[in-house]
């Protein structure tokens, strides 16, 4: 579903992401973790077609992002870390707009259940400008879910949500993956990544320092079999920062 080959992103002399390669299969959840400034958000923005890579290739659902950006973007749904909906559109109007832009067939009957799933029903006719941060986060997720994209990109998806909503969204993400969507989640919540993700990609100073299943990451970090992702993460990012990926 997503193939990233030798992705590099430079800002002048500064290299934010260097020679990053990974792939995500349909039905798989990939956790993207790393310290602040590791290049997670830059990588996600490159995959979403917002930033132009300085080098490398990104293929989304078989479409090369550099060659056919419109077709490639049609396959992905991005949920940014701090969503900004259109102030003067209601919750339902956002979903209608997205359905129109992505040519979603029979979107109207799906709006109600989706709002129900994300606990937005009461807010359906409210302008986005009146929503709390958590509600805006849910709206961004609804905008991505309404069209069942092949690839879901989450940048810190649970920020601002209450415990009940966190549990609900976590279940929703897992369900989408079980239905065949490829999911990439960037998060500092290592516990969430450990529970939800099939594979983990650890970035450090713009480079991949570990990529694989939790067992493979543990092995790469020379951690014990029952070590948590947190322990493996610190072992990798504090000691083996410049080592090649496991």
């Amino acid at each position: 579903m997503l193939d990233v080959e030798a992705l590099t992103k430079r800002y002048g002399a500064f290299t934010a992401v260097e020679d990053l390669s990974f792939h995500i299969e349909p039905g798989e959840v990939l956790g993207l973790v790393g310290p602040n400034g590791a290049g997670k958000t830059t990588s996600i923005r490159c995959v979403a077609g917002i930033l132009k890579p300085s080098g490398g290739r990104i293929v989304l659902g078989g479409h090369d992002l550099a060659v056919d950006p419109v077709a490639a973007k049609r396959t992905l749904g991005l949920i940014p870390d701090s969503p900004h909906p259109f102030d003067m559109l209601t919750v339902t109007e956002h979903l209608r707009f997205i359905a129109m832009a992505y040519d979603v067939q029979d979107a109207e009957p799906r709006i109600g259940p989706l709002l129900e799933e994300l606990e937005l029903t009461e807010k359906q006719d409210e302008l986005a400008s009146t929503l709390s941060r958590g509600m805006r986060q849910k709206l961004a997720i609804a905008c991505a879910f309404i069209r069942d994209p092949g690839l879901l990109l989450f940048d810190e998806p649970l920020t601002g949500l209450d415990p009940k909503a966190i549990r609900r969204i976590r279940g929703s993400i897992r369900r989408r993956a079980d239905d065949g969507a490829a999911v990439m989640i960037s998060s500092h919540l290592l516990d969430l990544v450990e529970r939800l993700c099939d594979r983990v990609l650890i970035l450090h100073r713009g480079r991949a320092v570990a990529f694989g299943t939790l067992d493979e990451v543990r092995a790469g970090a020379a951690a014990s079999d029952d070590a948590s992702l947190e322990e493996a993460f610190f072992a990798i990012t504090e000691d083996g920062a410049d080592e090649p990926p496991a």
Binding site: G49, K52, F86, F97
Partner: protein, 518 residues
């Protein structure tokens, strides 16, 4: 599909905006804001345009010069922007979406066209278009001129993206300087024109009619032509404007550069600036190199708050200084005109305090989020109010001091009169600042976007200086000395300030902190 979705987005947003506006009219303070707005427009209709005695040729020169200036500023500043600014929602929902480049560009243009209609009306009023031989054509010309500038701004931003990839970082400081100089120049020329000083319109005539200006700034000259000429010349002018709009539009559509990424970065810069402006703070330099300041000896209690304000100002001085100097120079020019009436002179200097209050770097408005912190400090209520307000009183007052010193040195004002004026201005400034503090403490609308609330606040501020004004009038009648009357009035106004200080202090200690701290 993407075009249909963008059309839906624009129309729905417009519809909801109108609905929200109409709904908002049910609130009395919003009605007040609308009435004030309409009143202002009517006032503009009556007369703000350059004097009625101006000949058609002079008016042509003024229109050509200011339009030409604006065209140049638009091109240069857009070049430095390195991309077109979109909203945060656009970045989140449109940039990662399946939208074609040309559709995103058209989506960006549509609201600008609507704004062009409003701007056309504004130019019509400002330039006294109804005094031209063909006002209807001039209004249409103003709209077309605005469309040309919108297209040129987009093209220039695209050019900026192209240059940024090569060698632009070295040119950027120069572009900032050129833009600032052009803006200050435009402001200076506009002040001279609209205050009828120095016969500027007459001096602009040969410049506006020179072949260089006619060729280089042809959209500006064509716009002015449309209000004056008829017959074949009218169609030539119209063709020039339409041609300029079409060529700039074509260039934007054809020049395919890294538009998405550049606009993403440019937009984020603009959002950061807007966020600062909404809070009323100036953008501080990202990397502070000055180290940490030592607290002055003996500055305790309320002085700690004042010290924080002084540091804040000092660290934004580079951003502030150009604007401050410009205010001083413009006010000094306007106040120092020969044969100026004393009272008019005072009124002009009095106005010096307003530009700073429109974008204050310090003060109650800026301190709203810190109120909880200040309340925890072991400072008396009065001390807290004084500490929070003093710096905002002092800054505009120092500007007035500079202007008055310049006028006294130039022999245009007597020293005694100057000292009286300074005392009076301090009392007025303190009153205004403290009323703002009172509004903060009562949640009565201190946010920049709350126009109705701000108008009510301004009315209360005006009412609060009434004792001083009445005593000036009575004192002048009794003493036959303006300086003496001002001394008397300042004393009375000082009593008002003293009362306000206690009132604001008490309110700040008891108000609901959630009101403004969000």
């Amino acid at each position: 599909m993407s075009a249909r979705a963008l059309r839906y987005l624009l129309l729905t947003r417009f519809k909801n905006r109108v609905r929200a506006f109409v709904g908002g009219l049910l609130r009395p303070k919003n009605i007040l804001a609308v009435l004030m707005g309409v009143g202002l427009i009517l006032l503009l209709l009556v007369d703000v345009s350059p004097g009625g005695t101006m000949t058609i040729e002079m008016r042509y020169a003024v229109i050509t010069s200011l339009f030409g200036f604006l065209l140049l500023i638009t091109i240069v500043s857009s070049l430095g922007q390195e991309g077109m600014a979109f909203s945060a929602a656009d970045l989140d929902l449109l940039f990662p979406g399946p939208f074609k480049r040309r559709h995103l560009l058209l989506y960006w243009f549509v609201p600008q066209y609507l704004m062009s209609i409003i701007m056309a009306l504004f130019w019509m009023l400002m330039f006294g278009g109804r005094r031209l031989p063909h006002p209807g054509w001039f209004l249409f010309a103003c709209f077309l001129y605005q469309v040309v500038t919108v297209h040129l701004a987009a093209f220039s931003a695209h050019l900026g993206i192209l240059l940024a990839e090569k060698f632009f970082s070295r040119l950027k400081p120069a572009i900032t300087v050129v833009t600032t100089v052009l803006l200050l120049g435009l402001l200076g020329v506009a002040v001279l024109i609209f205050s009828d000083s120095g016969g500027v319109p007459g001096k602009l005539m040969p410049i506006a009619e020179s072949p260089v200006v006619q060729v280089l700034f042809f959209p500006a000259t064509a716009a002015a032509d449309l209000g004056i000429v008829d017959g074949v010349d009218r169609w030539i002018a119209l063709a020039k404007l339409l041609g300029a709009a079409a060529i700039a539009f074509g260039l934007v559509m054809l020049v395919n550069v890294g538009f998405i990424e550049a606009s993403f970065h440019a937009s984020r810069k603009v959002h950061a600036k807007v966020k600062d402006m909404k809070r009323g703070v100036l953008s501080a330099k990202k990397r502070h190199k000055g180290g940490s300041a030592r607290a002055p000896r003996g500055w305790r209690g309320p002085w700690a708050i004042l010290w924080r304000d002084v540091l804040t100002l000092r660290r934004q001085l580079r951003t502030l200084i150009g604007g401050l100097l410009m205010i001083v120079i413009l006010i000094a020019i306007a106040a120092g005109r020969e044969g100026q009436d004393d009272l008019v002179q005072l009124a002009i200097i009095y106005l010096a305090m307003f530009p700073l209050w429109l974008t204050p770097p310090i003060g109650f408005r800026i301190d709203a989020p810190y109120l909880a912190t200040y309340r925890m400090l072991p400072i008396s209520a009065v001390g807290r109010a004084a500490g929070m307000g003093l710096c905002s009183v002092l800054v505009p007052w120092l500007l007035q001091l500079l202007v008055i010193v310049a006028l006294v040195i130039g022999g245009l004002m007597s020293p005694v009169y100057g000292i009286a004026a300074l005392i009076g201005f301090f009392a007025i400034g303190a009153t205004f600042v403290l009323v703002e503090g009172l509004f903060l403490a009562t949640g009565g609308g201190i946010r920049r976007t709350d126009f109705g609330g701000n108008i009510i606040r301004m009315m209360v501020q005006t009412l609060a200086i009434m004792p001083g004004i009445l005593i000036v009038a009575a004192g002048y009648y009794a003493l036959r000395s303006m300086a003496g009357a001002i001394f008397l009035a300042a004393a009375a106004q000082g009593a008002v300030v003293w009362g306000l200080l206690y009132w604001v202090g008490a309110r700040l200690d008891s108000c609901d902190l959630r009101l403004e701290a969000e």
